[in-house]
């Protein structure tokens, strides 16, 4: 099938950028989405990969026993925090495109002593049943997707009626960046 949206290319760029991050440089970030108290709840190995745009879990008011999907879980900071919040009676599922990130998320959950299922899958084709989730969290993922409408419809499909989505993401003040920026390969992954 022809990939009219260059999905494969976008995914390759995301994989390349996130597979080769300069974690020392992350110390210079001017925006730190997680406060110290929430970072302290994470294993060091997970906190080092906390590159999210925001802290959606802080706004989600998760309750014990809820079922939560972390859509594009990366190395799992939001996944681990959510698993702590919903407790042993809850369920947390993480989905990420990159197997290496899923492996980090699983290891982080194990180090934190929480249960979470982590699945390699595309955010636009979720391996979850309809209306099976109470809360969808996502952190910096919508802007990376070449099929945003499909991703958001999938988030809606897996949520129960009345369930909530809490998304952190970058937005732009103007509709389009200059063409030179739009065409820069790294601009599709950062």
């Amino acid at each position: 099938m022809t990939d009219l949206l260059y999905k494969a290319e976008v995914q390759a760029m995301v994989r390349a950028v996130y597979g080769d991050l300069d974690r020392e440089r992350s110390r210079t970030r001017t925006v730190r989405p997680y406060d110290d108290a929430r970072l302290a709840r994470l294993p060091d190995q997970t906190a080092r990969w906390a590159y999210g745009t925001g802290d959606p879990g802080r706004h989600a008011a998760l309750q014990p026993g809820q079922t939560v999907l972390d859509l594009g879980c990366g190395a799992g900071p939001d996944l681990v925090l959510a698993a702590q919040d919903v407790g042993a009676g809850g369920t947390v599922v993480g989905v990420d495109l990159l197997p290496e990130m899923c492996a980090r998320a699983r290891a982080g959950a194990t180090a934190a002593g929480v249960d979470a299922a982590v699945v390699v899958a595309e955010a636009e084709a979720l391996p979850l049943r309809d209306a099976s989730v109470d809360v969808v969290l996502s952190n910096g993922v919508v802007s990376l997707s070449a099929r945003k409408a499909r991703l958001l419809r999938e988030a809606r499909r897996v949520l129960r009626d009345g369930g909530r989505v809490v998304l952190a993401d970058m937005t732009l003040d103007e509709d389009d960046l200059p063409t030179e920026v739009l065409l820069h390969p790294s601009a599709w992954a950062g």
């Binding site: 976008v10 950028v17 996130y18 991050l21 300069d22 974690r23 440089r25 992350s26 210079t28 970030r29 001017t30 925006v31 590159y51 745009t53 925001g54 802290d55 959606p56 706004h59 989600a60 209306a131 919508v142 802007s143 990376l144 997707s145 070449a146 945003k148 409408a149 958001l152 419809r153 988030a155 809606r156 499909r157 949520l159 129960r160 009626d161 009345g162 369930g163 909530r164 989505v165 809490v166 998304l167 952190a168 993401d169 970058m170 937005t171 732009l172 003040d173 103007e174 509709d175 960046l177 200059p178 030179e180 920026v181 739009l182 820069h184 790294s186 601009a187 599709w188 992954a189 950062g190």
Partner: protein
């Protein structure tokens, strides 16, 4: 950056996907200096943006948002 939406388009996409009661829970503006400190934004991209972005966008390219929305009733297919 290339895939980022405006806040208005983001909200419209959520509504089209079947969400209601969309709220912005957090809005933190960012500029090029903030992007320069991001590990996912390479230096050459920041340099390019410094050259080509109009001055009004240099200090504020956009915002980091946290949005919350409620799953509205799923549309039912009538036969």
């Amino acid at each position: 950056m290339s895939g980022a939406l405006t806040e208005r388009a983001f909200v419209e996409n959520l509504v089209r996907a079947g969400f209601t009661a969309v709220q912005v829970r957090e809005r933190v503006p960012y500029g090029l200096d903030d992007l320069a400190a991001e590990p996912t934004i390479p230096g050459d991209l920041v340099s390019l943006m410094r050259r080509v972005l109009p001055p009004r966008l240099q200090t504020r390219v956009g915002a980091r948002l946290v949005l919350e929305a409620v799953a509205g009733p799923e549309p039912r297919v009538s036969s």
